[in-house]
């Protein structure tokens, strides 16, 4: 096969930090290549270097026999390099169809029939692209109304509509539910044979199902390149990435997608046995008749739920079910509709006022982390601690200090002077969690905390979350990663079409009827393959 892309000893630095040590790769036309590795390995940096958004310190990038290192991202895109971003790169203020229309470039010479014909051609291409990812019913919606996973699918539709010759996919499965991941795998497999794909993802079943060749990076260095079988059996790769430590195993999804449909979801007694809540712990959060929507379209209907002190209440549901809307409505960053009652420790939370809600002891770790780009991690933590000092909780409540947070999340300890852009995804997530903890919350709201994180980091977060709950913090957790969600949960609620389909406790999760119902609602099949 012809070499489509040649990375010749490329090296990338961010200030004094070397994100990628000299790396050489050959990608053939039509090849399906995966790049895997722990967070901070330099995977996204490789994609950015190819797409032109990360400057090269040294080395050459040759695409289709032409050096492209001096070209702008737009010029590279016009040569046939399409990419997705780690967080969905869509235009929120446009409709779904308009987003895709931006990607459709018509030939310089319009087809016979003039402008109307060209318009019809573009419209047909937009419709086809949306059909491919199952978003055709949302074509006229403003993009901001889509769920996170739908936005990711929209981004993929946009990139495919641009008809790239090399497709760079950065964490395409993050935020997607199992059903959507299977559709994504089908979509990528169905791409024409002449389109090369480089996929970066932590969802290893997807990676192993798609890739012909896998490259493993760690700490910015090349570890190995080979077939999926070679990579699975490579001891060095197993050491740095694939084989979880015994402590990590409960939440690992590194082995096979079968685990998603496994009939034996563990409720991880190891994690929670030491922290079983008291027989009748006090109710911290009480939500009654919660309703919310977007621009007149209701999304959540009459949600009732409670979270007790020291308990973890997990919200599961497919993309678009309303998980993030529920979290944001409780945090008051999204308006609730009249009739909604949200109480914290028996006190009504003021509707539509996130500042006062935070002062009552509600902390939010939002999806996408939302760290401040211009502040170091130390400054993030100092800001949060200052908030807690000024709006202190009643005596008797746990007061978190910076040392407590760093003991819980030790990976941050030597990164305090760094800015968010200099951290890996996992470190950013830990920083967001630490920032929330330093407000000494009574209620911690976690929205997809494991999105796009490597297995090892997911496990660190899992232990951190359970330890936080042990300090009598009530936790409401919205997650796509069912393993994490079910491993740590005391209570599980499943959202379906904006309503709570059912709520159950950790003890009943093993019952076959409960598992079957969960499978149905979450789109988990028992075939075990992403196809």
């Amino acid at each position: 096969m012809n070499t489509l892309l040649h990375l010749d000893e490329i090296c990338c630095r961010y200030g004094a930090v070397t994100a990628l040590h000299p790396l050489t790769l050959h990608i053939a036309a039509g090849e399906r290549r995966a790049i895997i590795g722990p967070n901070g390995a330099g995977k996204s940096t490789v994609l950015n270097a190819i797409a032109g958004t990360a400057p090269l310190a040294t080395g050459r990038v040759v695409f289709d026999q032409q050096p492209i290192a001096g070209l702008t991202p737009a010029s590279r895109a016009n040569r046939g390099i399409g990419r997705t971003f780690q967080h969905p790169g869509v235009v929120d203020t446009l409709t779904v169809a308009d987003n895709v229309a931006l990607a459709v470039h018509l030939p310089a010479t319009p087809p016979s029939g003039g402008r109307r014909r060209a318009r019809d051609t573009r419209r047909a291409q937009v419709t086809t692209a949306l059909n491919n990812v199952g978003l055709e019913a949302h074509a006229t919606k403003p993009t901001e109304q889509l769920s996170y996973g739908q936005r990711r699918l929209l981004e993929i539709a946009m990139v495919l509509a641009a008809e790239p010759r090399l497709l760079l996919l950065d964490e395409p499965s993050a935020g997607l539910d199992p059903h959507e991941i299977r559709n994504l795998a089908q979509l990528i497999r169905a791409l024409p044979d002449d389109i090369a794909v480089i996929v970066v993802d932590h969802h290893l079943p997807l990676v192993f199902a798609l890739a012909d060749t896998i490259t493993v990076l760690a700490a910015g260095r090349h570890i190995a390149t080979g077939t999926p079988h070679n990579i699975r059996t490579n001891p060095q790769v197993n050491d740095v990435y694939l084989i979880p430590t015994p402590q990590q195993r409960p939440t690992s999804h590194a082995v096979d997608l079968d685990v998603l449909a496994s009939p034996s979801w563990p409720s991880n007694p190891e994690l929670r046995t030491s922290s079983e809540p008291a027989p009748q712990p006090p109710v911290v959060l009480q939500v009654e008749r919660l309703r919310a929507g977007y621009h007149g379209a209701p999304v959540l209907h009459d949600i009732d739920l409670t979270v007790t002190s020291g308990a973890i209440h997990t919200i599961l549901g497919r993309n678009g079910a309303g998980k993030s809307t529920l979290i944001n409505t409780i945090a008051a960053t999204h308006p609730a509709l009249p009739g909604t009652q949200i109480r914290l420790d028996g006190i009504d939370l003021p509707p539509g006022n996130p500042t006062r809600t935070a002062r009552h002891g509600v902390a939010l770790v939002p999806q996408g982390r939302h760290l401040f780009a211009s502040l170091t991690i130390r400054e993030h933590l100092a800001l949060a601690a200052r908030h807690a000092r000024r709006h202190g909780r009643p005596p008797g409540d746990v007061r978190w200090t910076t040392d407590d947070a760093l003991d819980l999340l030790p990976a941050l300890r030597d990164k305090l002077g760094r800015y968010p852009a200099q951290l890996s995804g996992g470190e950013q997530q830990m920083a967001a969690l630490a920032r929330a903890l330093l407000t000494s919350p009574r209620l911690l709201l976690l929205d997809e905390p494991t999105e796009g994180l490597a297995t090892a980091v997911v496990d660190q977060l899992t232990h951190a979350i359970t330890r936080i709950a042990d300090q009598s913090v009530a936790i409401l957790l919205a997650e796509q990663n069912q393993h994490l969600a079910l491993a740590v949960a005391d209570q599980v609620s499943v959202l379906d079409h904006g309503r709570i389909a059912f709520t159950t406790t950790a003890r009943t999760l093993h019952e076959p009827a409960t598992r079957t119902r969960l499978n149905d609602l979450l789109g988990v099949t028992t075939t075990g393959s992403p196809s």
Partner: protein
Amino acid sequence: MSTVTAITPDAINAARPPLLQRASANRWRRPRQGVAVAAAGLAVVLPAITGRYVVTLAATAIILALLAMSTQLLAVAALPSFGQTAFLAVGAYTAAHLADAGLTDGLLQLSGATLAAALAGAAVAPVVLRTRGTTFLMVTIMIQGLAAAVALHWTSVTGGDEGVDTPPVTLWPGHPLTEAAYQYWYALAVLAACGAGIGWLMRSRLVLVLRGHAGHEPRMAALGHHPTIGLGLGYTAAAAIAGAGGALLIVVNQHAGPADLGFGTAAAGFAAAALGTCLTGTPTMTGALTAAIAIIALRDATGSNGTGPLYLGLLCLTVPYLRPTVLRLHRHWARRSEPTA
């Protein structure tokens, strides 16, 4: 006049249940159409029902409206520009020199002014479009200041402080427009033509690209859209609209001078665009037009005793505080139109 919002009403309605969608659309369509027809009718018959002073003010409001719409086109691309007056000046002095050269035909002057402003915009675009956001705003303030300084000191071209007097504009077959009413109607016709053009532009792919750049520039680049080209075309189009306003300035004032093209005019145009955005929640041309009329009424009609700049200053201070209120009202209306079940 085209109304273009970041999120089209059609798109929002499509997300609603059909019955609600129809009810909501019907509820607002007729009143909007009624207001638009009444406003257009009033604009046409204005000279017949008011005096020369009001008609001249109305003509001035049209010039400011074009300046505001020029600013608003860039606001659609998230480029807050204070410097569109520079292109108004290019258009005005171009029209003045054409008139001096004996070319008094209004449409010829309009074409020349528009073209000259567009060329100036295309020349400046690569420089200013290296910046975004607040830096872009600061750079455009500098451009406005530079343009005012050039107008003041390049006396051989601009006439310096005195400016350039011009003969009345003529329309084919050569009748001079000396009556305020005729000047106003000509300006109104130009506004209608520009409005139609801007309406077409707002539905064009160019504006879609501008909105894309405003929403997610890295994504646009990753799709192959060169920011300098897309935004440069938008900047050039906005300059052309301001240049058309400059041509009308010559029609109404028969004079081009630094006094008409200075900081006050730039502030009024910027405030009209900002206030228009506040009125409608998103950058719209109808909002800019309405705000331009309101500003002229406040500054020149109500404040004719010299307090106009004070009122305009207060309005500019109020604008940033109005936006959250308007957005809250929009959310309130959206909630009111939701189903109760």
